[in-house]
Symmetry: D2
Subunit: 319 residues, 4 copies
């Protein structure tokens, strides 16, 4: 059985949930999306995260989507399923259902309203216990959305008390110093080393790889670029990796915006033929004509810049 | 078919969701709760609100709870079902399922993150349209939790554009001037008059009745007191109504606290025999020994004060 | 030299800052206010807090107000001066200026944006060091306004590391369990015992006195009632104290509202002749006619209730 | 007398406030900073903004800093002074003092806690009236910090009602569609055209110039790059402008981070010799060794990229 563990590395792409124009789940697009990601060399796929519009799904839809993704992936890469919930009962139900369906682990963030660091620690300890020893946990730190903040001390206590927490989705912002401090404690103080995958849409990916991140777990419509960047770093050619990163940074920044960022991302996915419609479930952001113009322009610039760098254009990007 | 409308008045009690010690839904307690509320003379029952721990339920639990409440009520009073959701699809699904099961209307609040008044108006217009002409809406205004704020101008536009919005759950805080201004516009400017039921745990109930509220939609473990207060006001004896209100105010204030307030409320329900266990689904507040001491003391004082006022003690309150 | 210390008890009244109709500081009213409070038996006066509109003052006004209050008080009771600031330099300047002018201590809260408990602890340790050994600190815990949350563990570390923190302004909400836990640790674990004065407008004063608070540091337009309540508790007649408390609770609750609560408070002060105008500096809340009606009604009820209890009516309250 | 007006364009650089190692204001560095900015071709200088640590200054320091900046600038470019305040009295005092000292206008944002759009409009109308006809206002829209959100409808009403609002500091995020809609209404609906300068550290500057921004009012340690970018756009060579922008984007992104971003910015200023110390007033962010390493690396990359583009390296950037 495939499970995520502390050795995970590379790109776990946060998959969007495709809908058709009427807002119904588009299962055919899931197939194309999965195949496209795997062909690009992602190390894993994460579904039902915030960018997967998980909160906007009906429960039976969430289950069907999970099953469909897992079936299409067919064990080619591990699949992590978002299972955050306002209470232990639904959290555990979702997590166990995901694992039963073949997931490789679950992603959990502390719920909004967790006000103190003691409460963060208690929550994660209770969560790990509720899920049991067979559910690997990717612990997500995303204060921009959850408003839950904690220090490396709290992180360390959670790592010490929760053996099933094997992966850290690093998404604090600013967060470079926190990442560096975690790596330092692992090296110098024997703290158990987790797989650290970074996020925030990849906005600091190159810096994070320099600081010791094992990869990223985030969404970006040109996910093959994330793969290339990580590969170049792993291969010892960080400079080339960072050239690729810089070329994509204007678009990464566009997608990283709260709200409308997802609309840009889905529109690019649509243009690439990976999903049929860029629809976001209502209420949600919609691209204005000025946004589309801006996207066109930035895509054309990206193509030119990749040409300068002798990087093959990703599918769906034309010069 | 029973439906809430603009003429609704009296007490719509926000029902807690009873759990047993293990956190499983306790359907037997629902029966006692329903019978107790109806015997006390409530005008309606509202289920699956925030204080009903709606967000902590599994979807099949929510459905089973709705069916069970509706079956037990058996049409004796209208039942309003909370249906707020982060997106139109789950909102409409829940609302239509509730109506199909026999609900008299649904309660909807704008989701957190609705940042401008234009967005509030657009959201409610779209919601009313998505639910169709046969789903009466109780529109909830609860900025302390949702962080969504709007003026009476926006309220008025929603009332004008959404004929199915028939009830306003007034829960802004401070909110007395807003309530007064809505009533003034109805009287003087011909704005459609809604049923306005107030909330915030009843913390300002007497003032709100003076200002023209039609009753309240809120939770309080001695719900018969809410009924008595509203009855006294309707009967023209506001002074006596307010005496009863003041007697209960110390406990109302205790229950109105975020978080631990629900733990106090469920503990009183438990002592009254209306529910078997005071359990709140984890993570959630738990009464400390000092809290229990304080509750004991306040209950004893309430009993003495009701005696002074020649008010019969509610079931479960002893001197 | 008068200094607050760990033995402080009773009522430290949070004084409003009086303005005339044009929004200019009204120094004559300060005189009446000071004399009225001292005549009522307050144990101390706190100026330039949030309810004193400190943030709305010009720096020279703050200094003049501080000097004027201190001169009028003339050492009859200790005066605590609010000195919270976004940085150490203005904090220290204000605190030292206040002490030089004759203050008995300063009140400090962690600034908004202090995100972790480690940061709270570091902030208070640095503050205490910056102020030096001669500035007694009243440490304010007011998350409803500051959005800064911390546990009793952090409280304890601050108490252990900062000998000049001698007073705790307890204003967490809900906060009864936190207060009880602090008192328990003092009794059972030898944590240094501070003077704990509670706040939130006195909304839970009786319960807090039962739980071991030494008094309160808050505003309420009938401050003599706060004094009477504390005196009754100290005299061993808590029941009578709580009767007085309950009589005032409807108005306490009215004043405790954010924003408009201060407008109610200043209006009552005005009616009592303690200040000449109820003006709040713009932008700020203004009472609507419906608010004034409600206030009239609640004051009349208070007078009747105090009559029933054989409590002399405070100055300015008529039947 | 120099005044900002609707025709302003180019780069208004947000100046940091230099401190020496002890946290005292460093007036000598102000001189170097001013001369460096003007030599680089900035169109204006804005002082005492959030990034100028305005809230951390003593009032006499603020005044001295204003006078010193204005004296050194000596009328070479207009100087805008931040004057946001929690109340009209200090706002007006600061604004009038700044104008009396020679400022060309003031920058005003609605205070945190302005909850509805009606309140935003009322606040700006009152502000404009309080400042009178001779104080040009730069209206700042910065919800990431203020949590105040408004639509273009509200913007339009403010523009219509407040003739002295001549400049809009566009800092909503995401904000491209808002900017485009304002420009559309100016073109198509006759809304008065303001000078729109964008901010957020320049993170979207090139896109904003494409959408019709007149320049930017923001901080970035290589301010000459902002000038070059705006000049290229004005000269009709947007492509070259955007090449320069993209080269700087990794550092712009680093500085745009809340908190630590300012520490990076001041450190670069220090290395460039424009300020003597990178000190931020406590409590404030401090660069960790890992941050410094990352900064070194990004600066080296910037130098290489500028070389590729045949752009002269800015002073203080070495290859």
């Amino acid at each position: 059985m495939q499970r995520i563990d502390e050795a995970a590395e590379g790109v776990f792409v946060i998959a969007p949930t495709p809908f058709n124009e009427d807002g119904e789940v588009d299962f055919d697009s899931i197939d194309r999306l999965v195949d496209g990601c795997i062909a690009a060399g992602v190390a894993g796929i994460t579904i039902l995260g915030i960018m997967g519009e998980a909160a906007k799904l009906l429960p039976d839809e969430s289950e069907a989507i999970t099953r469909h993704f897992l079936a299409r992936v067919g064990g080619r890469v591990p699949v992590v399923v978002g299972a955050s919930a306002p209470a232990m009962v639904p959290l555990a139900r979702r997590a166990h259902a995901a694992m039963a369906a073949g997931a490789a682990g679950v992603m959990i963030a502390c719920p909004q309203g967790t006000k103190t660091e003691a409460a963060v620690e208690a929550y994660m300890v209770e969560t790990a216990k509720a899920l049991g020893p067979d559910v690997p946990i990717c612990f997500q730190d995303y204060p921009l959305t959850t408003e839950v903040n904690f220090t490396v001390d709290t992180y360390q206590r959670i790592v010490e008390r929760c053996p099933t927490v094997v992966m850290f989705k690093h998404e604090d912002w600013p967060g470079l110093a926190k990442l560096a401090e975690i790596r330092r404690r692992e090296r110098e103080e024997g703290v158990r080393r987790l797989s650290i995958l970074t996020a925030n849409g990849g906005l600091f990916l190159a810096s994070e790889l320099h600081l010791g991140a094992d990869g990223c777990m985030t969404g970006y419509a040109f996910f093959e670029a994330l793969v290339q960047i990580c590969e170049r770093f792993t291969a010892g050619d960080a400079e080339r990796g960072e050239d690729i990163f810089d070329a994509h940074l204007p678009l990464i920044r566009l997608e990283q915006q709260p709200g409308v960022g997802l609309a840009f991302r889905k529109e690019i996915y649509r243009r690439r033929g990976l999903i049929t419609s860029a629809t976001i479930r209502r209420p949600g952001p919609v691209l204005k004509p000025s946004d589309v113009d801006e996207l066109d322009r930035l895509l054309a610039r990206l193509a030119r810049r990749l040409d300068q760098l002798d990087i093959p254009l990703p599918k769906g990007l034309t010069r």
